[in-house]
Amino acid sequence: MSSDVEPFLPLRPVEFHVLLSLVNEERHGYGIMQDAEARTGSAVIPDVATLYRALHRMSEAGLIEPADRKEGRRSYYRITALGRRVARAEASRLDALLAAARSGGLL
């Protein structure tokens, strides 16, 4: 695990979902909400306020950045190289945890 992603872990679920949604394409705020909903069912989709606070934090931290694309009042975001690494690191961290849970007979 590279040292530059360490300070970001563990990610908040909302942050992880934002990164997941941006891995393959640029999306706008509501697009991210829709994508998270499609991926997980309605249980964990973030609300507007939480989402934008996360987008703000993550832009400041350099995990995502505004894309050039804009549609009316919607701004699009894309994932940065750092964001990609952080997402991957978080996924392997979770994976390791799950593996531990399985070997412990929890799952």
């Binding site: 908040r12 679920p13 964990v44 609300d47 507007v48 306020a49 989402l51 934008y52 009316g72 701004s75």
Partner: protein, 898 residues
């Protein structure tokens, strides 16, 4: 469900409530994008799952906006401490307050729910009242518009103008941009083939009146310019409501022809939704119309003595109201001097809105006042509840003050819980108001003006915000007072004992006494309205409608152009109705009792002993009714002497027969002898053949102008109300079909209105009084319950606090009765204080109510006594429970627990 409305409400809540909760920096940078995303989210959710989706989105967004995180993981997330040590940190304080409230879900739910109901009730009442009284009318520059009325020297408010007055006002002054003449009417609307007849209200205005109002049709071009082209078809504008109800919102209606009174009219536009233009009839309630026509009358040839129109003027730009009034007065004086021998005829202006809402002002003001009183009680109630909580927490807070958190922290903590509860109550209140406002508007339909414009709008939201703020401020006073006066040093010791400090007890008692005072004022108000309605209900409307039924039929169109045909047709229908099985008798009249409108004639009774000899005093205005044979008997008129008038016949010359009412009889024939005497009107002469009790025309509660009943064939009306008396045991439902069939057997194109009991008109004349009473009684009941809860809390608290003392007393041999007396004595003192305050308040507020009361003064001793008794009983019941519990305190246990 109405999707767009749900989205609109959600949007309002989000914009006014949730969005402003976001940190400023976030709003500045992402505000627009967040708004757009929220909107899409809401629209999607509503489209997919309706109200469930709506609620889910609103709750989720509210939670996010309040700072609750995506899920619980962040609370344990790494990172330094957020707070700067033991000082005041807003975020963590809020979180703690939320947690504290969450730990007592019962308290929180009850507090939020009562607050939501109170805020919702106030918000909808406030929204409705301000929507009616304050909101500008939906016309162009409505403040420039004034109604013009012409008052004669007598008691005749809102008299009609003559067409000649309108012409003079146009020509002789520059103060007005334009002056238009208005009239309302009832017309028969049918499909093009004459089928599906329906009776519709109409507004008729002189050319240019739509431009004068500044109303633009929602669809269609509107009326063509005057006289262009000269042989163009007659034109009509259709209201939005009628467009939907009668034409199925047909988008192609504009440009088609409809039949009105048998004549084709070209539809040239549909009026905007909620365009509820209403014209006062000269004495009755304001009426609107679903069809707008241009008056096809040459006003320049109008008879100056005949009042026929309401005048509407637009004050010219740059002309002040005083100048306009002065210009009007000049014309008014000229008309009075030239045509009325300067007897005091007066043309006067009144602001459009003031005129429309004049009668609604007092009841709506009282309603808002009642809702505000209820809010005050709610605030005092919450204040006592929060005071108790503060007491309970005193140990915690004093510990903190001992640690140096200081007064500021105490105060902040004391304020946060009421603030949070108020916020939740506001959200709930908005939902309540969103439901209650349309309900209230529907209840007000037909009773209050402008109900079509009402809805869940920013005014309601403002009312809710105002209410929540007020209640939160009040609720915070209890704990705030406690927080400020708490002695940090003594706090620990005090909190160590069970129960409350002396200061808190005093505060709480004062709050409860206040609640009782406010509640008593509300109960007195509701009681007065009840007594007033009782008085009205036993008022004699002057006739006995019994089980008689009534419905209106209009004889218009090409087949009924001649008076003779109309008279014959109406008589034929009356005969047909009399022949319907189950019908005892039938008759018809131009205007029913309590309908508030009929013609007025100037009449004299030459030679009658009641005349003074002064021709000006002896000429009287009479309300004139055109009655068929059988009408007076069928409708339950009471004959004092004589009989009903007989038709005068087609070729009659000389006097016809007339019946007068007791008002004229008393005035002109104080010693009897009216029968056989003459009544003259203009060039007509009639012989009095009967005297009846006056059947009230305007309101059940007062005598009006004298009345005269003339045979219907003397002055035939195209539209008449039939009245039929069914056999005993025959219900309206049994008869409605056969009555309709009897009319349509004569002519299938005749529109037959709803068939209803004649007695229902007496009931609906009291509808405003019932509405006032219903709302006031609801508020009063809520106030009683809240005050009862308040006194229960205080007494129960006292029992807990004095548990040890009670135990000692009982150990010393006090019996249950003495204990109960001791506890009740306390509540009696509170009740007494509350009662005195309440009576003072009721006395102060009573004079506002007096305009709503009939037959009872605001200081009615019976009402005051009963209200005081009710409050006393409530207080007794609320304190009996804890008092009873006190008697079961086991002395040993009480002593040991300390």
């Amino acid at each position: 469900m109405n999707d767009s409305r749900a989205v609109r409400w959600g949007w309002v809540v989000y914009r006014r409530l949730l969005a402003p909760l976001q940190p400023g920096a976030l709003r500045t940078r992402y505000g627009e994008a967040m708004d757009a995303a929220f909107r899409e989210h809401l629209v999607d959710a509503v489209a997919r799952r309706g109200w469930i989706g709506w609620t889910a989105v609103m709750i989720r967004t509210a939670r996010g906006a309040l700072g609750a995180r995506f899920d619980g993981t962040t609370a344990r997330r790494s990172g330094g401490p957020r707070t700067g040590g033991g000082g005041v940190d807003a975020t963590s304080e809020v979180r703690q307050a939320v947690r504290r409230l969450g730990r007592s879900p019962g308290f929180t739910v009850v507090a939020v729910a009562t607050l939501a109901l109170g805020v919702g009730a106030f918000a909808s009442v406030f929204g409705v009242a301000s929507g009616i009284l304050v909101a500008p009318l939906p016309y162009d520059e409505p403040h420039e518009l004034v109604w013009l009325w012409r008052d004669y020297w007598g008691d005749f408010p809102r008299g009609w103008l003559s067409g000649a007055d309108i012409v003079r006002l146009r020509n002789e002054t520059e103060a007005f941009d334009d002056v238009a003449a208005f009239r309302t009417a009832r017309v028969t609307l049918t499909d093009q083939d004459g089928s599906a007849p329906r009776e519709v209200g109409a507004v008729l205005g002189s050319p240019g009146f739509v431009e004068l109002l500044g109303v633009r049709p929602e669809r269609g071009p509107g009326f063509s310019p005057v006289d262009f082209p000269p042989d163009a078809p007659d034109e009509v504008l259709v209201s939005h409501a009628l467009w939907e109800a009668a034409f199925g919102a047909d988008p192609d209606l504009v440009g088609r022809d409809v039949q009105v009174n048998g004549t084709p009219y070209r539809v040239v536009g549909v009026l905007p939704d909620q365009m509820d233009f209403q014209v006062h009839s000269s004495l009755g309630s304001p009426r609107g119309g679903d069809l707008w026509f241009v008056l096809d009358v040459d006003l320049t040839t109008a008879n100056v003595y005949s009042g026929q129109y309401a005048g509407l003027a637009r004050i010219a730009d740059g002309v002040g109201r005083p100048e306009a009034d002065a210009a009007l007065a000049r014309v008014s004086d000229a008309v009075d001097g030239e045509h009325f021998q300067s007897r005091g005829l007066r043309i006067w202006p009144v602001d459009l809105k003031d005129d429309l809402v004049a009668e609604a002002r007092a009841p709506l003001g009282a309603l808002v006042g009642a809702a505000a009183l209820l809010l005050l009680i709610l605030g005092a109630n919450l204040a006592t509840l929060f005071l108790t909580r503060t007491e309970d927490r005193l140990r915690e807070t004093s510990l903190r003050s001992a640690l140096g958190a200081g007064r500021r922290a105490l105060v902040l903590t004391a304020l946060l819980e009421p603030a949070l509860v108020a916020l939740a109550g506001l959200a709930g209140g908005l939902l309540v108001a969103a439901w209650a406002t349309p309900v209230l508007a529907r209840m007000g339909r037909g009773v209050l003006p402008r109900t079509a414009e009402l809805g869940f709008d920013p005014r309601v939201v403002a009312g809710a915000g105002l209410a929540a703020l007020l209640v939160a401020a009040l609720a915070a006073t209890g704990p705030l007072f406690r927080g400020l006066t708490a002695d940090p040093g003594r706090g620990l010791g005090e909190g160590g004992r069970s129960g409350s400090s002396r200061g808190a007890v005093r505060t709480r008692s004062a709050l409860v006494a206040t609640q009782m005072a406010l509640a008593l004022a509300l109960v007195v108000g509701a009681g007065l309205l009840t007594r007033s309605l009782q008085e009205l209900l036993v008022q004699d409307p002057g006739f006995d409608p019994g089980s008689a039924l009534t419905f209106r039929v209009s004889f218009r169109g090409p087949g009924y152009a001649e008076d003779g045909t109309v008279v014959a047709a109406q008589e034929a229908v009356r005969q047909a109705l009399t022949g319907v099985p189950g019908v005892v008798s039938a008759g018809h009249v131009g205007s029913l009792p309590l309908s508030q409108e009929t013609d007025q004639w100037g009449v004299r009774f030459p030679g009658a002993p009641g005349n003074t000899g002064d021709p000006e005093v002896d000429g009287e205005l009479a309300d004139v009714f055109n009655v068929s044979p059988g009408y007076l008997e069928t409708a339950g008129f009471r004959f004092l002497e004589g009989r009903a008038p007989r038709p005068s016949g087609p070729d009659a010359v000389g006097p016809y027969e007339v019946v007068i009412d007791d008002v004229f009889a008393r005035r002109f024939f104080p010693d009897g002898g009216a029968l056989g005497a003459l009544m003259t009107a203009d060039t007509d002469t009639a012989t009095i053949v009967g005297v009846v009790d006056q059947a009230r025309l305007y309101a059940v509660e007062h005598d009006d102008r004298g009345q005269a009943y003339i045979p219907s064939d003397v002055d035939p009306r195209s539209s008449v109300s039939f009245v039929v008396l069914p056999n005993r045991g025959v219900t309206p439902d049994d008869l409605a079909g056969s009555l309709r069939a009897a009319v349509h057997a004569f002519d299938a194109s005749l529109p037959v209105d709803d068939i209803r009991p004649l007695g229902a008109d007496v009931g609906s004349a009291l509808a405003p009084d019932r509405l006032n009473l219903g709302l006031a009684a609801t508020f009063a009941l809520a106030a009683l319950i809240l005050a009862g809860l308040g006194i229960y809390g205080v007494v129960a608290g006292a029992v807990t606090r004095r548990r040890r003392e009670i135990g000692v007393r009982m150990a010393m041999g006090a019996d249950a009765r003495q204990v109960v007396a001791m506890i009740l004595g306390r509540s009696a003192r509170l009740t007494l204080a509350g009662t005195l305050g309440g009576l003072l308040l009721a006395a102060a507020l009573g004079r506002w109510l007096s305009s709503l009361l009939f037959g009872v003064t605001p200081f009615d001793p019976v009402t005051w006594g009963l209200a005081t008794l009710t409050l006393g009983l409530f207080a007794l019941a609320a304190s009996w429970l804890p008092a009873h519990r006190a008697t079961r305190i086991a002395p040993r246990e009480a002593l040991q627990r300390e």
